[in-house]
C-alpha cells in the first residue's frame, strides 16, 4: 500500500530530470530523449490519479486512461517527426548538435 505522494514525488523528480536534459543537452536526439522522460512522468501522474479516483469512486474511470493513451500517441508522433527532422537536418548540416544548426547566423 503505497502513498499517493510517493508516486507524485517520483513523477515530479523524473519530470525535472527531463527538464534539465531538455535545457542542457547539446544533441538534438538527447533532447528528444529528455522529452520522453517528461512525458513518462506525466503518465505516472495520470495513472496514479486514475488509481486514486478508482479507489474513491469505483471502477470505470475512463478519462485518465484516454489521456494516457493520447500521450502515447502524441509521443509516438513526436518521436517520428522529430527524429525525421533531425535526420534531415543532419544530412544537410552534418551535425546532430542543436547549436550548430544555425541557418540565419552570418
Amino acid at each position: 500500500m503505497i502513498p499517493l505522494s510517493w508516486y507524485l514525488i517520483a513523477a515530479a523528480a523524473l519530470f525535472c530530470i527531463g527538464l534539465f536534459g531538455v535545457l542542457s543537452r547539446k544533441n538534438a536526439v538527447s533532447i528528444l530523449m529528455s522529452v520522453e522522460l517528461m512525458l513518462n512522468a506525466v503518465n505516472i501522474n495520470l495513472l496514479a490519479f486514475w488509481h486514486y479516483h478508482t479507489q474513491l469512486q469505483g471502477a470505470g474511470q475512463i478519462t485518465p486512461q484516454v489521456f494516457v493513451a493520447m500521450v502515447f500517441i502524441v509521443a509516438a508522433a513526436e518521436v517520428a517527426v522529430g527524429l525525421a527532422l533531425i535526420i534531415s537536418a543532419y544530412r544537410r548540416r552534418e551535425t546532430p548538435v542543436v547549436d550548430e544548426m544555425t541557418l540565419l547566423k552570418g
Binding site: M1, R25, V29, L32, L37, N43, I44, A84
Partner: protein, 173 residues
Amino acid sequence: MSGLQIVFLIVAVVTLFSGVMVVASRKMMHSALWLILTLLGVAILFATLQAGFFAIVQVLVYIGAISILIIFTLMLTRRVMDDEHPQVIKGWWLPAVMAVILFGLIAGFLATWEDFQVMLNELPADAENLAAFGSALVNPAGYVIPFEVASVLLLAALVGAIYIAVERKEKVG
C-alpha cells in the same frame, strides 16, 4: 513497511538514477540504453498501480518501438568524435538549478494538498476495465473524436516523417 513499498522504492530509485544517467552520460548510446532502463522502471511503476494494460503498452511502444527508433537515429547521425566532447552546454548549472527549484516548488505545492498522503489500496481485479475503455473510445458520447483524430495525427506523422526522411532523388544535381 510492506513488501510492495520496498519494491516501489527500489524501482523508483533505479528509475530516477537511470533517468539522471540519460541526461548525464557522455556517450549517446549509453544514454539511450539508460533510457530503456528508465522506461522499464516506469512500466513497473504502472504495474504497481495495477494499470497492467499500460504497463505492457509502455514496454511494447516505448521500449519496443520508440527507443529502437531513437537508437537507429543515433546510428544514422553519429559522428566519430561525438563521444569525446561533453554533451551538455557550458552553463549547465543554470538548468540544473532551475530543475531543482521547480522540483521544490512542485513538491511544496503538492504537500499543501490534503489528500497528498492518502494510501493507494489494492483495487479489485476488474478495476482496469478495458472493455469500458474500449467502448468509450468509439462512443460518440465518449471519446470518438480524439480516437479518430489520433489516427489522423498518426497518419500525418507517418506522411510527414517519410516525406522528410526519404531522400528525393531528383535533387542530386
